[in-house]
Amino acid sequence: MADHLLQVDDLTVKFGGLTAVNRFDISVQRGTIHALIGPNGAGKSTTFNCISRFYQPTTGRILLDGADVTNMPASTMARLGVARTFQNLELFGELTVFENVMIGAHVHAGGTWRNALSARPAGVVEHVEHLLERTGLTPYRNTSARNLDFGHQKLLELARALAIRPRLLLLDEPAAGLRNREIAALDALLTDLCRREGITILLVEHVMQLVMAISDRVTVLNFGTKIAEGTPEEVRNDPSVIEAYLGQEMAHA
């Protein structure tokens, strides 16, 4: 139990009459990279948004390190060490790259007025600079986020999430729209974050090249239901998975 940083029990989400997620379970082990995959519209993002507390599940329970967070407001999750990125990029567009990451570091500036009013709280700036360095964004430090190219915007979201110093990093399609070269870099970065810094990562992803390369464990959703779970190798060869992705015909090609 204790080695599961995140545990989701019996999660069901209904929008109106539509059941987007149906009695879904997942356990994410501490210090691993866990991927949640599935075809478009399978309910991955809905699940993801429940875990990051942006949607309220209809029923079910979400445990973080054993503590029930099912009813926590989304803004508290950051303080509990849960960081997330967004599928369709939610950057602070008009703000500079530096400011974007600084906002990520907010939870660490403490709650005092002095800290609130201080432009450069001690220690935080160094950490931010470090993250910029690490994601290769230092040259764009003073550029507005919306003026970055897509790949850099993705990296910026990641850097911003890392500024929270998360225990659990929730990534919503981090590789979508990236070039191969960029995906390789992301691969290295995520592996490094998990293996060297022990950050647990749960990612929703379509780019299988990345999923298969870095995940310790993969859970497959289709039509709101879990259809498979296992190592990348197991999942890749699971007929129901192949069918879900390529369709019946190609599965047998």
């Binding site: 989304a74 803004s75 008009e94 703000l95 906002i103 609130a116 911003r160």
Partner: protein, 335 residues
């Protein structure tokens, strides 16, 4: 509103004079700042009390604009009750002086705090709404407050207006615009510094984060609702202080000048100056205030000219005066 206001806002930090994160501060900017300081310092020696009255009024509007900038420019909340908080500030400090003979620094603080407190309460209710509904709710509150000013005779003097006794500090009494000017300037500079401080701080960043993307702000651990209410309250605090500044050199207040027109005037100033930048708020107040005063000399056409200026700005300089000048003069040197 489908188009987010955010999309019109210029880069904020780099726009503050002298605040650019780059180490080399442009010389032109230093010169401009020096010129501004020199003008403010030397003005009383050069001009008549009339000009100082205008200067005082403009500076009050600068502080009003800074306040509205905090809530609209920084945190992207369309609040339209600024005149009401301004009025609360004027009446509070006026009454503190009239009835209790408080020294003016104290009544200024009180004015800001009372306005800020009302702002927090109203904000807590109004900020459940967004966009047009927030704008309309605050508009309605502003109108209701003007009615209160007009009908709460015992406190505000109602339609007779309120005579404000001279601001005092010990034996010293402010009896002219010349005497009030240093106080007004110091307060303006203080409020400007406070704005810059807020804007550069964690607090300001959280405002802008909320403005740019509420969901991302939430994901970053920013309590969005509290941030909005704080911005709203601060904005009201600024308006209250602006009101108390007005009370140092003005001897009279009437509810007529505390209506929606005033709110719209302040909004126009920050939009014309350039929404989202402190320089825009300050510049908009001064430029637009001066335009308004100059227009007084051309009575018959002034409404038409005023309207045409607004339309012209929105058609050809939509990002405000400063962005316009920068584009025309700078020739797109920014990357």
């Amino acid at each position: 509103m489908r188009d987010k206001t955010a999309a019109v806002l210029p880069r904020s930090e780099a726009d503050l004079p002298g605040l650019s994160a780059r180490s080399s501060v442009p010389l032109g900017r230093v010169a401009l700042l020096a010129l501004a300081v020199a003008t403010l310092a030397l003005l009383p020696f050069a001009v008549t009390g009339y000009v100082l009255y205008i200067a005082n009024l403009l500076l009050v509007f600068v502080v009003l604009c800074l306040g509205l900038h905090l809530v609209i420019g920084e945190s992207g909340q369309f609040a339209l009750a600024h005149a009401a908080f301004y009025g609360i500030g004027i009446y509070t400090s006026g009454l503190a002086g009239n009835a209790f003979g408080w020294p003016f620094p104290l009544s200024m603080l009180l004015a800001g705090l009372v306005a800020g407190a009302v702002g927090v309460v109203i904000g807590a209710v109004a900020l459940r709404m967004r966009d047009i509904y927030l704008a309309l709710a605050t508009f309605a509150f502003g109108e209701a407050m003007q009615w209160v000013f007009l009908n709460w005779d015992q406190v505000t003097g109602g339609p007779n207006g309120l005579r404000i006794s001279p601001a005092r500090l010990g034996a010293f009494e402010i009896l002219s615009d010349r005497q009030a000017y240093p106080v007004v300037v110091v307060m303006t500079v203080l409020m400007l510094l406070l704005t810059i401080l807020i804007s550069r701080s964690r607090l300001g960043r959280s405002f802008r984060a909320v403005r740019e993307s509420e969901v991302a702000a939430m994901a970053m651990g920013i309590p969005v609702r509290r941030a909005k209410i704080t911005a709203f309250g601060l904005s009201a605090f600024f308006a209250g202080v602006a009101g108390s500044m007005f009370a140092t050199f003005s001897t009279y207040i009437h509810p007529d000048s505390l209506g929606f027109q005033t709110t719209i005037l302040v909004l126009t100033m920050i939009v014309v100056g350039g929404l989202g930048s402190i320089a825009g708020a300050v510049g908009g107040a001064i430029v637009f205030g001066l335009i308004s005063e100059f227009l007084r000399q051309t009575p018959s056409y002034q409404e038409i000219i005023y309207g045409l200026i607004l339309i012209g700005f929105m058609m050809y300089a939509p990002r405000g005066l400063f962005a316009f000048i920068r584009d025309k003069v700078g020739g797109g040197t920014r990357g």
